[in-house]
Symmetry: C2
Subunit: 249 residues, 2 copies
Amino acid sequence: MLSKSQINFLKSLQTKKERATQGLFLVEGFKSVIEFINSPYGVEAIYHTTSFDSNVLNLSRKINSFEISSAEMEKISSLKTPQHVAALVKIRVLPPLNNNLLKQKFSLVLDGIQDPGNLGTIIRIADWFGIQNVICSTDSVDVYNPKVVQASMGSLSRIDVFYEEIGRILAETDLPVFGALMQGESIYETDFGTHGLIVMGNEGNGMSRDVERLITRAVTIPRVGGAESLNVGIAAALFCSEINRKLPK
Amino acid sequence: MLSKSQINFLKSLQTKKERATQGLFLVEGFKSVIEFINSPYGVEAIYHTTSFDSNVLNLSRKINSFEISSAEMEKISSLKTPQHVAALVKIRVLPPLNNNLLKQKFSLVLDGIQDPGNLGTIIRIADWFGIQNVICSTDSVDVYNPKVVQASMGSLSRIDVFYEEIGRILAETDLPVFGALMQGESIYETDFGTHGLIVMGNEGNGMSRDVERLITRAVTIPRVGGAESLNVGIAAALFCSEINRKLPK
């Protein structure tokens, strides 16, 4: 049973400000909780409803777990349909991003992504295609937003998400900088090589001008039909897939 | 100004039952409304707030338009942030699906898609890649659900969405039936040829067994990293892109 102040505390983590102050966020759902337990993240506590057997959770180490009521779970949950388990997880402080971390591989760079569902989906895509680093501009949606965590389906536990002045990163890198743009060489014909940065723009406005002028290779997804644009998550997936298809095996 | 019963009527179209009874649905947002006006759909009426110049809307024909207040728009809207314009549009009754319609092209077949955002995204993808037909199993989410219409970003005005017993369609077709499955030949190596049906399964449970046994070519998206699955919209995009890449030019 949770006290009123505990409930308020857990609920407060739905705001970015409180997450930053406390250094904590909430992960909901059995599958995601398991993945965070088996990850570099520190798990502070687990909350589960009576209909849940907590034994299966304590896989690799001892974590305090609390049985709570469904009504309490509803109060602390950000979901319309709350799950049977949630975990209180420590925000991970990553080492500063440097050129060494980006060497010899592909990384995704996101310029001003606003929709939490899109960021979560892109993290899941990065995880599927083995892309370790996602670099967000500082004005992007917070990665510990409950909707991002939810949409990433546990992949956030494996992917490193950095917040950086991406203009500086792109200006300083010696990697090729591929940009997803409406005009450019066809993604199907682009030789991506074995490493580089893949830059995706904001949902409505595309890439900011300062970022776009740092693109060294403008790449486009050829359109056949009538749609004006593709969702940024879809575009990111098509880039990751084409890069992967062409990688020397 | 709208009467209370007009507001209730427009609001009632958020439910599938009322849409089916009335044969009408609501399209919201300037861009989408324009696209439906310039489409085979019949537009019954346009509602716009004072901050909107209605002249730009009457492009190709005379449509009754009504200036309403922002408060009224909020009442009839299904959006958190209502737009300045909405259109009352007639549900289009498509001719029965037959083999002729599917000949010499690729069509998407969706088995039990439940999430309206996913269906809308897939319609937008189909539109981008020039795929005219999307065939949904009868237990799929309704295509005139406001969230589907919204996520399709106007593409619904150009794509034909059928609801069919897809088991029967797949059993009767002489087209190759490609299925997006966890096991199968790599999508990158699959020769899709010039026509066929592309079957995608439900978000959580994948394809139903009766549908899966009618797949003639099991195709998979190779995984590199740790994510357990890809979102069905992402998978649909990767299939459409690969098919398009390999089409004889």
